[in-house]
Amino acid sequence: MDLDTLLSFSWHAMGPEFIILGTATLLSLLDLFLPRSFHRKWLGWLSVASIVAAIVFLLTLIGDTPFAILYDTFRLDSFAIAFKLVLLVAAGFVLLLAISYEPKEKLTEFRGEFFYLFLVALLGAMIMSSSGDLITLFVGLELMTLSSYILVGIRKKHLPSNESAMKYVINGGIATAITLFGMSYLYGVAGTTNLLEMAERLQELTNTQHLFLLALAFLMILVGLSFKIAAAPFHMWTPDVYEGAPIPVTAFLSIISKAAGFILIIRMFITVFYHIPDVSNNSSLLMALQSFLAVLAAVTMIWGNIVALRQTKIKRMLAYSSVAHAGYLLVAVTAFSAFMVETIWFYLTAYLFMTIAVFSLLQLMNIEEVKQLSGLSKRAPLLAVALALTMLGLAGIPGTSGFIGKLNIFLGALSTEPTHYLLAAILIATTVISYIYYFKLIIYAFFREANRTFQMSGKKMNGVIISICVLMTVLLGVFPQLAYDFLHQNFLSFYDFLQ
């Protein structure tokens, strides 16, 4: 590759990534050379600024014809932009959380580290949403995963934090190995790592024996990614890691990491597996293996919601709730309706605001147990209302964005042929079960007398984050067309996915 070729690429397609990468590099240098006395939270503000810049840059890229640079390994299509927006917005909020995060066992020495590791993890997720090649996909995935291992254990003097980091490394390692193994089959059969090329070659597959290998590859990739999105039975790490990790990192894991997992799943499933014909040649491999996805989705919804019932710690409860939400999203993937990508995009957006709100509330109130919420409505009525609205959103009550998200998934499951009415029924039933544990928090906050005083530890910042997120939850619930109009006007139903 000579210089001319290198310069001929439309590098501006990678602009947002460069901004993030540049800031991460800058931060690591600043952290090294700045004196101790310099408060590292300014590095946090710098990161926020870089994310804002990246979002602005990304918005200017909307509407261009899809780019593919670096020999089709990096794609910038409407899908990539739409999901990067979700990732960046979520990252912005998580950073704001992190800036105001003050754990008991001080973070001073590692605070700088946190910010640039975080940006690197974000970079990994962004690359995943843009990659058109197995190699870049995997590199993005690992970039995000490796950084998040350290982020989970960043409170070095906090034992539970260390423990959960260790667990995360081991489980993540298993997941990576399985994913990679599955990918290697894909490469072995297709002889290329480029996704579009792979799809073309596999369509002309003559040896049906190879289909079985591809099916194995599908199952293994699915299992490997199930770790990332926290789907049962590969979700076991979730509660332990969520509990031990600092709150901003938990928020990162439950939003960005999960979203990245789904981005990868959508990218691979639509581009590759949907285009491999099955044995009889009338439908695709993905459709033939739909029942495996359906079972995973069902088990995830049931398991997550039922085990959540007995949790007494809020973070563990939220971990299972995040498992359950992965299950709902898997229903959308299974159904594979014509509007699946839109559905998932909307759901992730809605989920982002609700989750940030809830973690911000936790951080502000500085509590761990559900019981500690008692008497909240008397002491801080506005917080109690915010908590209630968020819980209603997570439970999917009409009037909140959570309802619209579930409605989309539900209608998607019913709109396809064959109809997934069983999955739809499980979705409804488990949603009803989830009311029990979400409403439990509301009941504690409103109808229980306080048995101890609160130690509010948060700052104004948390209040701002909570207000924005709760507002968005309600706004998207009452006027969901706002989000959809944005999506339709700018991304035209992701028509350029395969161009």
Binding site: M166, F212, W303
Partner: protein, 621 residues
């Protein structure tokens, strides 16, 4: 005016938001503010109703959500039925706002109370304006939330907490039926719009089986909200809420939502004979069943609550036998006289500080306003001629007779007798007889409380004249224009129906007078002769006990035995589900033992199972 009907629910919503946010400062002004907003809302509703007399229906919609090819819309619609409902709801809400200003005075959470009232009124008005099922469902749930908050307003009282929970859960059971029915209907018709559903039905594109199934499922939702048998038992418990709330929610508006839903979807129901018959039977049975319980209650509010259940049964019966106008008519008159009765009861409770009618008595002289007003309400609900209840009940009885359901007609007549009896029993016990010692300091309530009652009493007298066999059938003619089902504006029944209804009413009053005022008949005249029946009735047919799976030894009646079997089975299933869930939850939590080896094992076993299943089945290839 009709084009801006959407503004009507916004006033109470605004009141809710303002009171919620600024609730702690300048209390006094805020309550006046809430009352004024509810008045404005009522005036707008009134203007809309007047506009509807001369103009056509209005429907405004915008695309709310696009899912794939399907467009879901939101908006509002004004037709005869909901214009009428708007006025009823906003009027009762306004009067209750006014009344509560005095009734709730001194309560430290009074602004919260008014905020909840605003939320509820908003939800109820939104429900009424909805042009499609989905929007209806959303407001339906919101109405449930408002009612939950208000029932549990005194949340430090265990009973109130339990009652709020019970109301929430029992209506939720109904809502599941509604939701499933709604989704099935959407699946079949491809739209949530009322208009389009009716168009499909009149085009004959919906199979009768499907219509029956969806209609009955939707009716289950109405059963839950309107307290029909067997989901009625939350309504009497809901009386734990403040009394103005009972008047607004559990007498005049929310419980009528079930009846309203059936009326709004009337073309769907009318399409299926089975569904109609189900409604009629459930309604008729509830009417008489609740009336018998009403005769034995000692708590003034609970007695009124059972009478509400019974009257709602009447409305359902009317709709079920094809008396669309009769049902809506009774809904209207009932809203006025039942709200009046509750407010008057509240005034009594406010004065004597007890709800036990045995501890009251001789209040006729002490409460110069409340007593006659209560009497007017009692006369109206009992069907004393020339008051509103007389005309609407008459219309229902005629509908039942003309439709040929003679058994249901007989039930309705008997229920009318019971109604007159228990209402006058209440009246004589509370206002007649000797004064009780502990009530020497009873005072009449303030004007803020008596004025709303006066307005309602006036309406309870005159509201019937919008539809009478003598002075014209204005309401019926107006309501039935342009409706997509075959309904009559008015039915001419034989004259003797009216005579019989009047006679049983007076018989009921006479019996109550003999037993409770004159005391010629001993009060245990009935109880001593049929102690078991009395026990059964005073214990509300043990429905609550049965529901709480207490097995009463040696059930005395075959019907009860059957009932037990049913409940036992259902409860058994339910507890099986809860136990399984709890077990699963425990197992699940145990599984999560913190050992990362186990997590890895589970993952590998999971993968292995997937691959083995794939290998064995060939993966569907």
């Amino acid at each position: 005016m009709m084009e801006i009907a959407w503004i009507i629910p916004l006033f109470p919503l605004f009141s809710f938001l303002v009171l919620l946010i600024f609730g702690r400062k300048w209390r006094r002004g805020q309550i006046d503010f809430a009352v004024i907003l509810s008045l404005v809302s009522f005036i707008c509703a009134l203007l809309v109703l007047f506009a509807r007399f001369t103009q056509e229906n209005v429907k405004v919609e915008f695309t709310w959500l696009t899912i794939g090819e399907t467009q879901l819309t939101a908006g509002f619609e004004v037709n005869q039925l909901n214009a009428l409902m708007l006025v009823i709801v906003s009027l009762v809400s306004f009067l209750v706002h006014m009344y509560s200003k005095a009734y709730m005075e001194g309560d430290e959470r009074i602004t919260v109370f008014f905020a909840y009232l605003g939320l509820f009124t908003f939800a109820m008005l939104g429900l009424v304006l909805s042009p499609n099922l989905l929007q209806t469902y959303i407001f339906w749930e919101l109405v449930g939330v408002g009612s939950f908050l208000l029932i549990g307003f005194y949340f430090y009282k265990e009973e109130a907490k339990a009652a709020a929970k019970k109301a929430f859960i029992m209506t939720r059971i109904g809502d599941v039926g509604l939701l499933i029915g709604m989704i099935l209907l959407f699946w079949q018709v491809g739209s949530f719009e009322y208009d389009e559903i009716f168009a499909v039905i009149s085009a004959g594109d919906l199979s009768e089986t499907m219509a029956t199934l969806t209609a009955i499922l939707i009716f289950i939702g109405a059963v839950g909200k309107s307290g029909q048998f067997p989901l009625h038992s939350w309504l009497p418990d809901a009386m734990e809420g403040p009394t103005p709330v009972s008047a607004l929610i559990h007498a005049a508006t929310m419980v009528a939502a079930g009846v309203y839903l059936v009326a709004a979807l009337y073309p769907l129901f009318a399409f299926s004979e089975v569904a109609m018959l189900t409604i009629a039977i459930v309604g008729g049975f509830t009417a008489i069943f609740a009336a018998t319980i009403g005769m034995t209650q000692r708590d003034i509010k609970r007695a009124l609550a059972y009478s509400t259940v019974s009257q709602l049964g009447y409305m359902m019966l009317a709709l079920g036998v094809g008396g669309y106008v009769a049902g809506v008519f009774h809904l209207t008159t009932h809203a006025f006289f039942k709200a009046l009765l509750f407010l008057a009861a509240g005034s009594v409770i406010h004065a004597v500080h007890t709800q036990d009618i045995e501890k009251m008595g001789g209040l006729w002289k002490k409460m110069k306003w409340t007593a006659p007003l209560f009497l007017i309400g009692t006369m109206a609900i009992s069907g004393v001629p020339l008051l509103s209840g007389f005309f609407s009940k008459e219309e229902i009885l005629v509908s039942a007779w003309v439709s040929g359901h003679y058994l249901l007609f007989t039930l309705a007549i008997i229920a009318a007798f019971f109604t007159a009896f228990y209402m006058f029993r209440l009246f004589f016990l509370v206002f007649g007889g000797e004064e009780k010692k502990e009530q020497s300091a009873v005072k009449e309530s303030s004007n803020w409380m008596t004025v709303p009652m006066l307005v309602l009493a006036l309406l309870a007298i005159v509201a019937g004249y919008i539809q009478t066999p003598w002075f014209g059938t204005f309401l019926g003619d107006w309501l039935t224009t342009g409706i997509a089902a075959n309904v009559h504006g008015h039915l001419d029944g034989p004259l003797w129906v009216m005579v019989v209804a009047t006679v049983v009413t007076f018989l009921g009053i006479l019996l109550a007078w003999l037993m409770y005022s004159k005391k010629v008949l001993s009060r245990d005249w009935f109880t001593s002769r049929a102690p078991y029946t009395y026990q059964l009735v005073i214990n509300k047919y043990y429905i609550d006990e049965v529901y709480q799976y207490i097995f009463v030894k040696g059930s005395r009646f075959v019907s009860q035995i059957l009932h037990f079997v049913e409940v036992y089975l259902i409860e058994g299933l339910i507890s099986l589900v809860t136990i399984t869930m709890r077990r699963l939850s425990i197992i699940g939590s145990k599984f999560q033992n913190g050992q990362t080896q186990l997590y890895g094992t589970v993952a590998f076993v999971g993968l292995a199972i997937l691959i083995v299943v794939f290998a064995l089945t060939g993966g569907g290839f």
